[in-house]
């Protein structure tokens, strides 16, 4: 079925302790990488075809290669602000295998020529932060981070930085502002972080899972890793499955297997007697798919072709017991709450959408309001400073298109109820 890389040892008792991790082969990849030039490490990452696991799916090797050479201060930031609804894979990886992440960070830092690294972990992950703090101290004590790591010429400082509750800090430039001690407002791009990021220096930002994959790529070689999965979506992926399934949890899969296998075979499908009504393939920001799309292969390109995206790799299943309006309203409120407020279409558009949905919910709307709501989503998409506005407008827009009948039936039934 699936190759297990990140989750291979995940339930090994005491894996968070460096001794256990080392016993299971941990930090061998780092030794191997340190014996290589940074260009060679970069080449392996490139050859692996690894695409970012945070949401955007950008090739990780290429991203690391964008940092300018030279001995200025360069930064690596591990994005551990896992906040996308439905996503909890990084939490489990950090909690159970923190050293795998640290090892990946040092490898990535070596590849990109970085000497200062930060892990930006969401504030709510207090337990995981404590585990990471201990692990970092152990790694430092064992010479895996610090000056001249394992006698090599590579030096790296690593600081764990805790957020304080803001979804937008998962956006990489919002994260940088937050790490600089500001409100987590996204920045205008360009300049891109690779050129001008943290403290104005070149900065590489990678998701936890992306970094945690790197030791495995180094261990097996980029070319071999690339053979896992399918073309364009190499490797394995930890998928968080939640919502209306009987076995919610994280499952590591080879990219490209049918989505149905994940939802039904691994996660057990919806409770008996209920049907999948809609599902988010990549976190709540992904346009929704329906039962008709269950056989779409679970990989970057196939999901894009189906009109959605792999996103953070979080499948949220909604069965036929829940009205689509409830889902739409829940999400719209979430995005309104999390909009940073910096740019107009997102700040006002999320608010307007919630207000319209509430009116629809209350039965005080007409089908024309559905058209206006669809048009408002169109006006948000592509016009915002960052992707948060789109992250609401795309799924809401897709719900209006795919479930228009249900919305209209709801309006009609409310109006009938009002008339009686």
């Amino acid at each position: 079925m699936s190759s297990l890389l990140l989750m291979r040892d995940i339930d090994e008792p005491g894996l968070a302790d460096i001794a256990v991790y080392e016993r299971r082969g941990g930090y061998k990849s780092l030794r191997k990488a340190l014996a290589m030039t940074s260009d060679a490490v970069l080449a392996e990452l490139d050859a692996s075809g690894l695409r970012g696991r945070g949401g955007a799916g950008f090739p990780a090797g290429r991203k690391a290669s964008f940092l300018p050479k030279g001995d200025m201060d360069k930064y690596l930031v591990c994005n551990a602000d896992e906040s996308e609804p439905g996503t909890f894979k990084d939490r489990e990886l950090m909690q159970k295998s923190p050293h795998m992440l640290i090892e990946g960070i040092v490898i990535a830092a070596h590849a990109a020529g970085v000497n200062h690294a930060f892990i930006y972990i969401r504030g709510e992950y207090e337990e995981q932060a404590k585990i990471l703090d201990l692990a970092i101290a152990q790694a430092r004590a064992n010479g895996y981070i610090g000056e001249r790591i394992l006698g090599s010429g590579v030096s790296l400082s690593l600081v764990l930085h805790r957020g304080a509750g803001a979804y937008i800090c998962g956006e990489e430039t919002g994260l940088l502002d937050s790490l600089e001690g500001k409100r987590g407002n996204p920045r205008l791009k360009p300049p891109f972080p690779a050129i001008e990021g943290l403290y104005g220096g070149p900065t590489l930002i990678n998701n936890v899972e992306t970094l945690a994959t790197m030791p495995h790529i180094i261990e097996m070689g980029g070319a071999k890793y690339a053979k896992l999965g399918v073309s364009g979506s190499s490797g394995t992926k930890v998928v968080s499955v939640s919502g209306h399934v009987t076995r919610p949890g994280n499952y590591e899969i080879d990219l490209g297997i049918p989505s149905r296998e994940i939802i039904y075979d691994l996660a057990g499908g919806p409770p008996a007697g209920r049907q999948v009504k809609l599902w988010f393939p990549g976190g709540s920001s992904a346009p929704v798919l329906t039962a008709e799309d269950l056989d779409v292969p679970y990989d970057f390109d196939s999901l894009a072709k189906a009109g959605s995206m792999l996103g953070s790799g979080a499948i949220i299943v909604v069965d036929d017991s829940t009205p689509v309006l409830d889902v739409a309203l829940k999400l719209a409120k979430f995005y309104r709450h999390e909009s940073c407020g910096k740019c107009t279409p997102c700040r006002e558009g999320t608010n307007w959408t919630v207000r319209m949905l509430e009116r629809i919910d209350g039965g005080e709307a007409t089908p024309m309001d559905l058209d206006i709501m669809a048009s408002v989503q169109d006006h948000i998409i592509g016009n915002c400073l960052c992707v948060l506005g789109d992250a609401m407008a795309m799924p809401i827009g897709s719900m209006i298109v795919k479930f228009r009948d249900e919305f209209e039936a709801h309006l009609q039934s409310r109006q009938l109820a009002g008339a009686i």
Binding site: A166, R183, L188, R336, H337, E338, S339, C340, G341, K342, C343, T344, P345, R347, E348, G349, T350, N351, W352, R355, M356, R359, I372, S375, H379, G382, N383, C384, L385
Partner: protein
């Protein structure tokens, strides 16, 4: 630091070929082709674009997504469409989004008629809104400060105002609170936004969310006219536009001049216009009759003045200051020297500087411009506090440090507001700037530093460190110094300039901040005891400087004093000496707008002074820019042009009848002051002319070999502290007289280090008496962690209890006996009323 080099490129916008500097932002570059792209958050003065409002979305060929014109740099061959279907839809969408929570209360909004949101809604909006949900409503307007009202319903969250507070003024008081649609503009825990430059946010606001409390509902845009002139409340001489309705000034706006103010104003400049129209302003001539001042006709006042001056003749002395123009300075010099035969006139309170040094200091080779502060490798702020002495320059220094990485080096007696931005700071003893300059010059030349450093009350090691920083910063060094440094000796400063090779380096130079708003102009017009117009040799030989004038009036060797815009009892050091001087003078003629103590108690004739909104003439900026004042309103009451009064007095006393028009006097000024030869009044319109940019550099000859004159700094001892003083930005009768600003008028406070306070047993906020053998004053204790131990700082130029009541150098601080800590009337004893 090299200034950005500009390459011209060609791009196309809405079908027009336009030439623009490469990398100019599209929103600006489109204007060069007469294409307007709407913006709200974009304002280049605030720094990098933020792309927040999304109003300026345009289509660029070859780029799939719409781009914000505010943040897109133009490139050669770029093809831009601002009016394509996609762009128009996006622009209309943004307007629709912005209006969702905007109240559309335009009929009762103060911004109506001059509101970018109105204009953009009309020009780029879709003309209708599909938002039918109830709008939000809040209490409005609310106070943001005594000067500014905030209407949060109207705010469109462009966040210009908070960016201004954080990235221009750097006071970081005005912030965004909360997040998303709940975001609002506010302050910490309900504290008011009070800061030296807060009023600029009113002009920045593109809607009616931030309005001027003094201006609210005073006029509609169609009731008013704008009249360009200058603010002459301080040496920064910012360019302003007076908003005038029915011959009254109702508002002051910035008139962006990159080489002067960069488009900003301080709150004093913005709000003190109120003092033009208050009842306590003197608007008619007065004479002292039986000990009481009373209003008289001009004929009577002129006759009184004429006879007084005629009696005193050569025993007359004169002081000029405030906003007195170059022309007035010239005429005052003629009245004294040519008509009365007296050489005794001064425009400074410090000790005289030799004429050779004045000439050396005004050498165009040593001159820096205001914008040099922004692009220098390093700026050395020497013995001045920009925010108090020439406020707007502080913003320029901050801009240079923030945007261009200028190294800021600070040497001052009192901790500076710029300390946190400085790469090096050095403290020395109050009043020992000249010695510090000598010490720095010595350190730069690896000479003996110990003696001058000790005389300056500074650590020799720190002096060497500062010198090292100066040497390592790069060649282009601008020294911004306070005129108090030139107390009798400019040698140290010149030696320092020589040691840095400033004369030879483009972009390096000196800017001296004079104590009077037009101090440089008055000096150049010949209001110096030892210099005639243009630093010519004075025709009657050297006269007495200000301190000597006080002494000679006091002992009767002089008998008349002519005060042009200055009250020495209030603003010059040693009030005790001036009290004596004024007491003994038989004739004291003052041009004054307010009855400040010296005028109120001692003037025998008062001529009502003009406000800067009424004045005609020229003034000279500290960087040598001759700027033109144009009257915005007529003279209120019986006020007459002051130059005319000076001219008239000269005629009545038998002198030559001067020119009959203000333009005629200006022409004479340009002819008589060598430095100004060739200037024409017409060319000064708009931006003025820097005379040093036209004049040839003067090769200086061997004067640099001057010997240091070192005065040893006193030291705190026996529980007594060294006295330092400063003049706050808020000092001045105009602040006290403006109803809106009065809350800022300083009352005496003594700054102490926590250590000294603990030793003296006094607490923050406590009332104390500060005294020396000369006098005693009341003050409130202010503890500052950064105040050097052993020093106490007091404020100068106050309505009462000013620091000039004490002579120092050591003062005693002790708890005040409880009791009369009453709030005093600031301007005088009279009840203050206002319009």
């Amino acid at each position: 630091m090299p200034r950005p080099h500009q390459n011209l490129i060609t791009f196309s916008v809405d079908g027009r070929e336009v030439q623009a500097p490469e990398n100019m932002m599209l929103a600006d570059a489109a204007k060069l082709g007469d294409v307007e792209i709407p913006v709200f958050c974009y304002e280049p003065k605030l720094g990098h674009p933020v792309g927040a409002c999304r109003m300026c979305l345009v289509e660029i060929e070859g780029i799939p997504k719409l781009q914000t014109a505010c943040s897109t740099a133009v490139k050669d061959g770029m093809v831009v469409h601002t009016q394509s279907e996609r762009a128009r839809v996006a622009q209309q969408a943004v307007v629709e989004f912005l209006l969702i929570n905007h109240p559309l209360d335009c009929p009762v909004c103060d911004k109506g008629g001059e509101c970018p949101l109105q204009d953009i809604t009309f020009g780029w909006g879709g003309g209708k809104s599909r938002f039918i949900e109830p709008k939000r409503h809040f209490r409005k307007p609310l106070e943001l400060s005594p000067l500014i009202a905030i209407d949060r319903e109207r705010c469109i969250l462009c966040y210009r105002c908070v960016r201004y507070s954080q990235e221009v003024a750097e006071d970081y008081q005005l912030v965004l609170l909360e997040r998303g649609e709940n975001t609002f503009v506010g302050t910490f825990d309900g504290h008011p936004y009070v800061a030296p430059f807060s009023g600029n946010i009113i002009e920045l606001c593109p809607v009616g969310a931030l309005t001027s409390r003094p201006y609210r509902f005073r006029a509609r845009p169609w009731d008013i006219e704008g009249s360009g002139s200058l603010c002459t409340l301080c040496p920064a001489q910012c360019n302003v536009t007076f908003t005038v309705r029915d011959d009254r000034v109702l508002r002051v706006l910035a008139r962006d001049h990159h080489e002067v103010d960069d488009g900003w104003l301080c709150d004093k400049g913005r709000f003190a216009y109120q003092a033009v129209h208050v009842d306590e302003r003197i608007t008619a001539p007065m004479i002292r009759d039986g000990g009481e001042l009373r209003t008289v006709s001009w004929e009577r006042a002129l006759a009184e003045a004429t006879s007084g001056l005629r009696r005193a003749g050569a025993k007359t002395a004169a002081l000029a200051g405030g906003g007195a123009t170059n022309e007035e300075g010239l005429l005052l010099g003629r009245l004294l020297r040519d008509v009365l035969g007296s050489p005794h006139l001064d425009s400074r309170s410090g000790g005289a500087v030799s004429l050779a040094d004045w000439r050396a200091l005004s050498d165009p080779a040593l001159a820096a411009t205001v914008s040099d502060l922004e692009f220098a490798n390093a700026v050395l702020v020497l013995d001045c506090e920009p925010v108090d002495d020439a406020p707007i320059l502080e913003l320029r220094i901050r801009k240079g440090v923030r945007r261009n990485g200028v190294a800021l080096l600070l040497a001052s007696a009192r901790p500076s507001a710029l300390d946190p931005s400085a790469t090096e700071t050095l403290r020395f003893a109050p009043g020992r700037g000249a010695e510090l300059a000598w010490a720095l010059a010595a350190a730069l030349q690896d000479g003996a530093v110990d003696a001058p450093a000790a005389a300056a009350g500074a650590s020799a090691e720190e002096v060497r460190k500062l010198a090292r920083a100066l040497r390592e910063a790069g060649e282009e060094i601008v020294i911004l110094y306070g005129e108090q440094l030139l107390d009798g000796d400019a040698g140290g400063l010149l030696a320092l300039a020589d040691a840095l090779g400033i004369a030879e380096i483009e972009g390096a130079g000196l800017i001296g901040i004079p104590e009077a708003a037009n101090g440089r102009g008055l000096r150049e017009a010949g209001v110096l005891p030892n210099g005639g117009p243009g630093f010519s040799a004075p025709p009657l030989g050297d006269g007495l400087d200000a301190a000597a004038i006080a002494a000679k009036l006091g002992d009767g060797e002089l008998s008349a004093l002519y005060l042009l815009g200055v009250d020495p009892l209030r603003s010059f050091p040693d009030a005790g000496a001036w009290e004596q001087a004024l007491e003994h003078a038989t004739t004291v003629i003052a041009h004054a707008a307010f009855l400040t103590p010296g005028v109120r108690e001692h003037a025998t004739v008062i001529f009502p002074a003009e406000s800067s909104a009424e004045k005609e003439g020229t003034v000279t900026h500290p960087d040598g820019r001759v700027q033109r004042l144009r009257p915005a309103i007529g003279h209120p009451g019986d006020v007459r042009a002051e130059w005319r009064t000076l001219s008239e007095l000269a005629r009545l006393l038998g002198g030559a009848a001067g020119p009959a028009t203000a333009a005629g006097v200006s022409a004479e000024l340009f002819a008589s002051v060598g430095l100004y030869n060739g200037l024409e009044l017409e060319e000064l319109a708009g931006h003025g002319v820097r005379w040093p940019a036209r004049a040839p550099a003067v090769a200086r000859s061997g004067e640099a070999a001057a010997k240091p004159k070192l005065r040893r700094a006193a030291q705190a001892k026996g529980g007594r502290l060294l006295l330092g003083s400063y003049r706050s930005i808020w000092a001045g009768p105009e602040v006290e007289a403006s109803p809106a600003l009065r809350f800022l008028a300083p009352r005496q406070r003594v700054e102490l280090s926590p250590r000294d306070a603990a030793k003296l047993g006094v607490l923050h906020g406590e009332e104390v008496l500060v005294s020396d053998d000369q006098g005693e004053l009341r003050a409130t204790v202010v503890l500052r962690d950064s105040t050097p131990s052993g020093t106490a700082f007091l404020e100068r130029d106050l309505a009462r209890d000013g620091a000039n009541r004490l002579r120092g150098p050591l003062v005693e601080v002790r708890t005040a006996p409880s009791g009369n800590g009453d709030v005093e009337t600031l301007l005088g004893e009279e009840e203050l009323t206002h319009a």
